[in-house]
């Protein structure tokens, strides 16, 4: 049974992490979640990122959302922004692709080229 009391323990553990974290090594994942993104399946992708980040206990990664950027045919789309690198845009992202993006790109720094917008055929 989950109880609100659990949250106090989580709070104590989490506060230390938050204070230790430095903004410069933050990695950001930004998912398009406007009407087009949601209809194309952005929600399970976003939840897959949260699961994967929790599983690997990655403390420097934040997942956030953005609106429609006008390329609805490529949805679900997301950007991965690593510190000091150009952002990488992934297109037609499915939850099954998320573990590879996390391990190869976010953890090891090598974008998964075949999933990026640069590899789009149309």
């Amino acid at each position: 049974m989950k109880s609100l009391a659990d949250l106090q323990a989580i709070r104590a553990r989490t506060l230390e992490n938050i204070n230790m974290r430095k903004d410069e090594d933050a990695c950001r994942v930004i998912i398009g979640m406007a009407t087009c993104g949601i209809a194309a399946g952005a929600r399970p992708v976003m939840l897959a990122f949260m699961d994967e980040i929790a599983k690997r206990n990655l403390k420097h990664v934040t997942v956030s959302q953005t609106g429609c950027i006008g390329m609805c045919r490529y949805e679900p789309m997301l950007d991965v922004v690593l510190p000091g690198q150009e952002k990488v845009t992934y297109i037609h992202v499915k939850p099954e692709m998320v573990p590879r993006i996390v391990s190869e790109h976010i953890v090891n720094g090598h974008p998964v080229e075949e999933y990026t917008i640069g590899a789009a055929k149309d």
Binding site: D6, L7, R13, T35, I38, A39, M46, M50, A54, V63
Partner: protein, 185 residues
């Protein structure tokens, strides 16, 4: 949209854009198979003029494009399923959206992953606003209030911290699955 929970996820963005502090979501399935989804916010509300044209796909507050499909798609899906769609709004007070669907109608959308929608909303809006969900089906009722979570967790810890996110996921499931899981009617 493939299901109602995705419509909900989409429509809540309007409340967030309107600067709401508390977003109330109420989903009720009665014994006559009628499903009512209410979305109530305390955002800035709409002028009577905007309220009148907001169900048109060519009405939007964004400046980058001239289309906005969230509300018209929901209206179409509700009316197609033998139901109705209604919007009330008052400037400075907030907006209330009500969609009713007949779940016995063959064109009624499935409910979808409500837990996933609520979790996504909390994780992508980790500090603000608050969400109050109440659900009622023939199996009973459930509720989830992020203000209670924040009171226990503290206002300085965002919901998208991995340990908090996992707690929310499990707590939502425990609360909602007995009411919304499995066959409802």
């Amino acid at each position: 949209m493939r299901d109602l929970s995705l419509h909900l996820l989409d429509l809540v963005q309007n409340s967030i854009t309107a600067g709401a502090d508390l977003i109330t979501i109420r989903i009720t399935l009665d014994g006559q198979k009628m499903l009512t989804m209410e979305l109530i916010d305390d955002g800035r509300g709409m002028s009577p003029e905007l309220l009148k044209r907001v169900t048109s796909p060519f009405a939007t507050t964004r400046t980058t494009r001239k289309v906005g499909l969230g509300i018209p798609l929901m209206k179409e899906n509700a009316e197609k399923a033998g139901g109705s769609f209604h919007l009330e709004s008052q400037e400075g007070v907030g907006t209330r959206l009500t969609a009713v669907m007949d779940t016995g109608n063959i064109d009624c959308l499935p409910l979808g992953d409500l837990e996933g929608t609520l979790l996504s909303l909390m994780l992508t809006n980790p500090m603000h606003p608050d969400f109050l969900f109440t659900g009622e089906t023939p199996k009973g009722s459930c509720s989830f209030d992020t203000r209670e979570v924040r009171a226990a967790l503290g206002n300085d810890i965002p919901f998208n911290e991995p340990s908090v996110a996992m707690w929310l996921k499990e707590a939502l499931h425990e609360e909602m699955n007995p009411i919304f899981g499995g066959v409802l009617l």
